[in-house]
Subunit: 256 residues, 2 copies
């Protein structure tokens, strides 16, 4: 790298994301994945700073990025995704806040929330979360297989604080697993029911942040269970193959 390249590199957005111990994984956590997709979709150059779970707080504090929520004991909770944009000096976290910032700051690039749909997209995110909720007890344990040991230890410890039990204990078993899997299918079915059969994206032919919200859950699922797993194949085929097709459509914005 010569000096000019370094200068150019200094001017691009810094994007903070969770690394994976698996080869070739480009970001796996559904929340940062939204912003990875968004930056690529808008065609905004960025560099990734990979942050292990226990380092998030110090890293974000050092970058001047405020926390987005708080732990049950009231302490500030610093979360990813987060960005620093050297061209404006803006440093912020939270996927929706970042998406709104990117649209406002780069309005000439394709909009993440076109036609003034920010409020609708935010509500969409909430409603989707309510419907994909059954996925959590299945995938939290899978996170542990994706991250480095230092993050795994932190992740396991803090989930006990949040949920009152370990991510191992949360995994649905036997009949309960079947029921919860069925609920997940029904949840995705609700989302499919909002969309027109012929529409590939939430806003028809137009890609929007809502697709990255769903995409985040799908990309995580594919990584968690694996491309060739029974589970991912089922999800991909649910609702006329809608979810498998959506992930395919998002490929231009995900791979390196």
């Amino acid at each position: 790298m010569n000096e000019e390249d370094e200068d150019a590199e200094d001017k691009v957005i810094t994007f903070y994301d969770f690394p994976s111990k698996k080869d070739g994984v480009e970001g796996w956590n559904p929340f940062p994945v939204r912003i990875r997709l968004a930056l690529k979709y808008k065609g905004i150059p960025f560099k990734t700073v990979w942050v292990e779970y226990p380092d998030v707080e110090l890293t974000l504090k050092a970058a001047g990025i405020p926390p987005t929520t708080q732990w049950p004991d009231g302490k500030p909770w610093y979360t990813l995704p987060a960005i620093v944009d050297p061209s404006t000096g803006v440093a912020l976290a939270d996927s929706f806040a970042i998406a709104e910032y990117l649209d406002k700051t780069y309005p000439d690039k394709p909009l993440l929330m076109p036609s003034h749909t920010k409020a609708l997209q935010t509500a969409f995110n909430e409603a989707v979360l309510a419907h994909v909720r059954p996925i959590f007890p299945f995938v939290l344990i899978k996170f542990c297989g994706l991250v480095h040991p230092v993050s795994e230890e932190y992740f396991r410890r803090t989930r006990i604080v949040l949920f009152g039990k370990s991510v191992d204990e949360m995994v649905p078993q036997g009949e309960n697993a079947k029921e919860e899997w069925k609920k997940l299918e029904e949840g995705f079915g609700k989302i499919a029911g909002w969309m027109k059969k012929e529409d590939e994206f939430v806003m028809g032919d137009t890609v929007s942040f809502a697709d990255f919200v769903i995409g985040g859950w799908l990309i995580l699922s594919r990584l968690a269970w694996g491309n060739d797993s029974k589970e991912w194949k089922e999800i991909a085929e649910w609702h006329d193959g809608r979810w498998g097709k959506l992930v395919k459509s998002l490929e231009p914005y995900y791979g390196k």
Copy 2:
């Protein structure tokens, strides 16, 4: 009315709504109110058929309108709003299905779900419902003061089937009432938080079905507690007076 008028009247959409025993009330139930607002906003002529609660099933069956859901015992549940459009022969219930039909059939009139936002608007409705849920125990008893005795009797009886207790027993009391009222304010606060401060409508300057969804809850609240009540005045003033202003903005589409 001469014969020509009668012919014209026969060609307009029939809109099925719940009557009120109160003078000058133009529709009060938040679900039909959405369609009343929608028809007026689109400028589509219609006539209202007022249906008491115990007559909904027979009336809709006779009009060829299918049920939208089912009772806990599995029997079909016929609900309002419902419409019959003599120009197409279409007969259907469910506010979102009707809104979608109206946009498709009358695309030259202002769209209820512009810019291909049907999926987003449907998710918005779900997320709003989750946040305004604390209103139910307060207002169900108020329904009884708005409807004729024949509907009141039916409404009280069927709510016991649905909720396992009477609408009187559901009314929050004492400290609990304060807590639930606070939750309602927080719920509306969440919705306000999705919107930009300067935006009057969910889609900014553009009216959309999402405004009629919120509008339905607000119009009901104003009717239930009364224009001059402490409760309505509070709601109207929450979040920088956003809700009072929204109801005002919807007035052209609500009054006779």
